[in-house]
Structure formats: C-alpha cells, structure tokens
C-alpha cells in the first residue's frame, strides 16, 4: 500500500468507529431526543469531516478550476443535501463507503499493475562495462554500440549484442514464457532480457539500450493500453454524456415533482441525491481498460505480446486463420535432400550443389544457408557477379563470367531453358549454367512441432477456415497441408499474390488473422484484421509489422491467445453490462423511491469493485487449465 492509501485507511477506521459509537448512542437515547436539534447534526459532522474533508476540499477547488461534473463535487453535493434534509447517518455512511470503495479501487489497480510489471520484469538495472582490464557498473542507457560488456552468471543480459568470449546457457523465459535454455558461445547474437546461466560472457554490444529487445518490448506493452478498443472508446464517450445527463436529471427530480405534485421537498431531494451518487462514471470508465490490461498481461506471461487492446478485441472476433508456410508452419530450416544432375549434364551431384550455393550464396533466405551448409566449402565471393534476385522466381547471376540461373520452374520457363521436371516432395531448385540445364536440387523443410496440434485446436475453438499460403510448389505445399490438417492451401504465390489471397479470405470468412514470420510478409501482416508474427525474438522488423507478436516459434500459443482474447472481451462485456445495468436499475428504483442511498453507493463503488475483481481473473489465467 502506498502512503496515501495508508492514510486513507486510518481515516476510514477513525471515522467508522466514531460513526458506530454515534449510531449506538442514537439508538439508546431514542435519536438524541434529550438534546436540542443541532446536537446530532454537530455530532455526525465529526465523522463526516474526518472521512470527507478532502473530498469537499477537492470539490471546491475543482469548481474554481471549472470542473463541474467530477465525482468529488457530486459526492459533496449529495451528502450535504442529505444533511440538510436530516439524513445525518445516511450521509456519513455514503461518504464512508465511497471512500472505502475508492481505496479498494486504487489498491486493486495498483496490484494488477504490479503483477503485470512483475511478469514483464525484464528491464536490466545495470550493465558491467569492460574497460580493458577493469569492469565498471553503469546504467544500460549509457552503453554505446561496440562497447564490450561482461554478463556474469545468473544475471540478465542488459543489451543486445554478440558474444565474443565465453560459453553459457541463456534462459529465455522472460521473453518467451517458457524456460528453454539455449546454448550460446562466441560469435552468437544474444538478446537482452535473457538470463545468463553458469558461464561468464563477454559481449560486444550491437544495439543501444533504446533499440534493444528489452526496451522495444517494454515500450510496446506500455503503449498497448493506449491503443484503445472500440468498447473502450464507446465507454469513454458514453461517460462524457452520462454524468451531465444524470446530474440534470437529479436537479429536475428535486424540483419538478414537489412543485407539480405538492408535498415536501425532502423526499424528492433524497431521491435526487441517489441520482447524484449514481452519476459518477468511474466504475464504467475503469472496468473496460482494466479488463484489457489483464488480457494483455495474461498474454505476455506466455510470451505473446499484444500491441493494443484493439487487437485483442479484433482477435476475439476472428473466424479464419491464414498461415504462411515457411518459417511459420515449417521450421524454415531447409536441408538439401537430393541433387539430381540433368541427363545431358556432366556435372557431379556435389558440383551441382556448389553451383546452386554460389548463386544463392549472398541471400539471407533459409534456402541459401542450407545450400552453403551442404556445399561444405568456403565460397569465393569474387567468382560471382551481377547478382539479381527476383522474388518468387530465383536468382540470376554470372559465375566465372557465364550466366547462372537458379530458381523455380517459372524462372526456367521465362528464360526458355528446357528443364527436366522434377516431382520430388520438397522445394525444387532448377539450375541452368551457360544457357544449358544442369540439374535440380531438392530441399526439404521440417514441420514445426505442435503445428498440427495448433490447427486442430483452433478448429475446435470454432475457427471456420484455416488456410496455408506459400510461394512453394504445389507438391511441397500439399505434403505440408496434409500433415498439418489445414482446410485449404494456395501454392506458387508471389509475395504480392498473398495479399490478394488474404483479401479473398476476408471476404469469404469475415474477420481473418494472418500468421507469418514477419520478415518477408509484412504487407500481408498489415492487411490482415489481426497480424501475428512468430519467432520474433530478436527481429525488430517482425515486431514492427505485426499486431500480435509471438516471441517464440510455438504455434500452440495461437489457440491460447485466441482463448485469452475471447475471455477478455467476455469479461469486459460483463463489466459493462453489470455497471450499466446496476446503475440504471438503481436510478429507476431511486426515482420511484424504492432504492436507498446505500443502494446508490453500491451502484457506484460496489460495482466498480466487482468489475475490478472480475477483470483480475484474467491475471490469474493459466494456459495449463485452458488447453
């Protein structure tokens, strides 16, 4: 509890005790009948002022500042009016319970904020800067690119960098939600936010703190509650009209019925007070963002970063999932499966692979890396010139001066090379050297663990359409599609075709999510109603382009996130219905004299407390219990 909260608690306790004593005394003496009239008034004013003096003071100050419809003012008017009509004990009770509710509210919000902060306890407090021999503790923000830092066992990696010395295991739990130790050694890139294992690492910093993974993630989560969901905007707008309308209603209720019907003002003023108490909008205004906040927190605990409340809301309505194949459903780690020299070519299998490796050698595509691995020898950069890469086709270049083409059948067709069609399962790269067909290299990719499980789980959760998109050949796509169990696939797509495919899906199935690796499918990610990027740890581009970011590679997080989104929206709806329902009911009952001021206080702070408690459920969300 903060100091402010503790002080309020003390005042509540003092005021409560005084109030109970006064109530008991009043009962024993038959309503202070022995004393002249002002005595009970003055007696009840004591606990009233103990508990309410700050509210009164704030109300006065706010009026001076031109803030009329704020809750301090409303509570002050309502309780003072109650004093005027002789409802002393009610007046004190209203103020007392209002303060208790406010205290609980501020405590609960603080708690939920803390628990999210704990989940996201990534921020490093210091970095050890290596100054050639001696080590100095500095603020991570003061470390520059190319500085060398030392990460000791058990410590958080403060900045992104490359290991230059030492071996260790890194725990990525804070980033991915799963404790999977990853082996690192010299030459490897590491991300800030990981926790170092047993070994000491010397790391050359590659990014300043503000651009490091940790800072990017923290920034993202902090800003998430600023991207407001439609429900939230609706409620904020609603609150803007609600309070003035109800307040005006209260004034009319106090004046018109007694004038029209005759009779005393007191009974109608009391009903007007009920209106004033109910008119406070805070229960409404807090319940929605807190619900989303909880959902975003629950997601970040399983290593899923949601970039805004609006995306969580959009995800809850998603009916179709579209997946990219490479890097999303499959690992994106190709291995050379086969090398088939052309019938007329005189090249060896290894030579064919070498040619392909040279052409692809300067690309970062996963295909290129696996070719280099299979080739096994150091490539001599100067042998290759004029490299031109065409997306969806392949590479054209010159190798030792002669034209070398490596790519799919479209490339061969366009260059009018008479190639021998290869129907092996996998990705086929056709190679043509010096204008002649030389052969084909077949590469295979492995499907990720849990991909089939994830697709099945999404279907079980009511996703009507699951589709896979790929630039790969039909045969390779068919194999993956069958194994994973998606409803349909589109193969041999150029990157620009993917957006068209997605748009078609959006038209057919409604709200559609796209899942990609965020590296070369940014336009599709942006176009989708909800864009997921997978395996985003350490990839700024993916984090930038996507709406929801899966830090690790696990497709099974998709159905989990879907459940979180739906549950969050359900909780937010419940909160709105509860808050509005109770308030309207109390307003109606109050107008016809059936609700007491107690009911009104409940409708204000009681409902706020219930809504907060309801939202907190999201923070306790456990993926193990929601398979």
């Amino acid at each position: 509890m903060t100091k402010k909260q503790k002080k309020t608690l003390c005042r509540i306790a003092v005021s409560m005790i005084l109030y109970i004593i006064l109530l008991a005394a009043g009962r024993m003496t038959d309503g202070f009948s022995f004393a002249p009239r002002p005595v009970p008034l003055l007696l009840f004013l004591v606990p009233y002022l103990v508990i309410g003096h700050d509210i009164l003071w704030k109300a006065v100050r706010n009026i001076r500042n031109g803030q009329i419809f704020d809750e301090n003012f409303l509570m002050s008017v309502a309780t003072i009016a109650a004093f005027f009509i002789g409802e002393y004990s009610e007046s004190v009770a209203v103020m007392l319970f209002y303060q208790i509710g406010e205290l609980f509210q501020s405590y609960a919000v603080g708690k939920s904020r803390e628990s999210i902060a704990r989940m996201m306890e990534l921020a490093p407090e210091y970095a050890y800067l290596d100054l050639g021999g001696n080590v100095q503790e500095v603020d991570p923000e003061d470390v520059k690119v190319d500085d060398v830092i030392v990460v000791r066992p058990g410590e958080k990696v403060p900045l992104d960098g490359m290991v230059i010395e030492g071996d260790s295991f890194l725990d990525t739990v804070a980033l991915t939600g799963e404790s999977v130790p990853r082996r690192v050694g010299a030459g490897q890139e590491i991300q800030s936010g990981c926790v170092n294992g047993e070994g000491t690492l010397r790391v050359r910093v590659t990014k300043e703190y503000a651009d490091s993974t940790v800072a990017v993630i923290l920034e993202l989560v902090e800003n998430a509650s600023e991207k407001k969901a439609r429900l939230e905007n609706f409620i904020t707008r609603f609150a803007r009209y609600y309070t003035p309308i109800v307040t005006i209603g209260a004034m009319l209720l106090a004046v018109i019925p007694p004038l029209a019907l005759g009779g005393g003002f007191a009974v109608w003023i009391k009903r007007a007070c009920i209106f004033l108490i109910v008119s406070c909008p805070c229960a409404l205004v807090i319940s929605v963002p807190l619900g989303f906040f909880g959902g975003i927190g629950a997601a970040s605990r399983i290593g899923v970063l949601v970039k805004g409340s609006n995306y969580l809301e959009a995800l809850s309505r998603v009916r179709a999932f579209v997946f990219d194949k490479t890097g999303t459903i499959t690992r994106g780690e190709f291995r050379v499966l086969k090398s088939i020299p052309g019938k007329k070519a005189t090249i060896s299998e290894a030579g064919l692979i070498k040619l392909a490796a040279y052409a692809e050698g300067f690309s970062t595509h996963p295909i290129a890396r696996s070719l280099q691995e299979a080739c096994g020898e150091q490539l001599l950069i100067e042998r290759v010139t004029d490299v031109r890469e065409t997306a969806g086709r392949g590479v054209r270049c010159r190798f030792d001066g002669a034209e070398l083409l490596v790519g799919n059948s479209t490339l061969m067709f366009e260059e009018k090379i008479p190639y021998e069609r290869c129907d092996e399962a996998g990705t086929v790269l056709y190679v043509a050297f010096g204008g002649n067909y030389t052969g084909a290299v077949v590469l295979g990719d492995r499907i990720k663990e849990g991909a089939a499980e994830a697709v099945a789980s999404l279907k079980k959760k009511g996703i009507v359409q699951t589709v896979m998109l790929t630039g790969d050949r039909k045969e390779a796509a068919q194999r993956v599609s069958d194994e994973v169990g998606v409803d349909a696939f589109f193969a041999e797509l150029l990157p620009q075709d993917k957006v068209g495919c997605l748009e078609q899906m959006m038209e057919e199935s409604g709200q559609t999510a796209f899942v990609g690796d965020g590296i070369n499918d940014a336009p599709v990610l942006m176009r989708a109603d909800v864009g997921f990027a997978m395996g985003a740890m350490g990839s700024d581009a993916a984090i930038e382009a996507a709406d929801i970011v899966l830090m690790d590679d696990d497709m099974r997080k998709l159905p989990q996130t879907l459940v979180i989104a739906r549950q969050t929206v359900r909780i937010v709806r419940q909160n709105i219905v509860l808050a509005l329902g109770v308030k309207l009911a109390v307003l109606l009952l109050g107008a016809i004299g059936l609700a007491s001021m107690w009911a009104a206080v409940f409708a204000d702070v009681g409902v706020a407390v219930l809504a907060i408690t309801n939202s907190m459920r999201m923070l306790m969300w456990n993926p193990a219990k929601n398979p």
Binding site: N65, G66, V109, R113, E222, V285, P289
Partner: protein
Amino acid sequence: MKKKYKCEVDCANCAAKMTEAVKKIDGVIDANVNFMMQKFTIEAEDDRFDTIVAEAVKAMKKVEPDCVVEL
C-alpha cells in the same frame, strides 16, 4: 520531442480528462495520461518543450489537484 514521465493519477476518468486538457495546449502534438501504467507521455515542439511540459502539468493539476508528475 517526445518524453515520458511517471505520474500518480487516482481515477480513470480523471486520466481521460487530463489527456484532453493537455492535448488542447498550444504546441502539444500528442499527449496521453495512461492510468494503467501511471505514465504521462507528451510530444511537443522542441524549442518550447520545457515550458509546454510545465503548462501541461498545470493543466493536469487543474483536473486533479492531487496528481503528481515526476519531472
């Protein structure tokens, strides 16, 4: 220039009102009082940044006199 400050705000509705009030100040490009994170973000013209921030804090105090902004 864009800067972020810690702040203490007691109610969600006040935070919304503060955001509106600060956005109205001349020279402010964007502003947000985040009740959940208890953070105040302001983006304003560079040359008058400090005066604008001071003005913003004043506007916030007008909405809720108790609020604290750690500059």
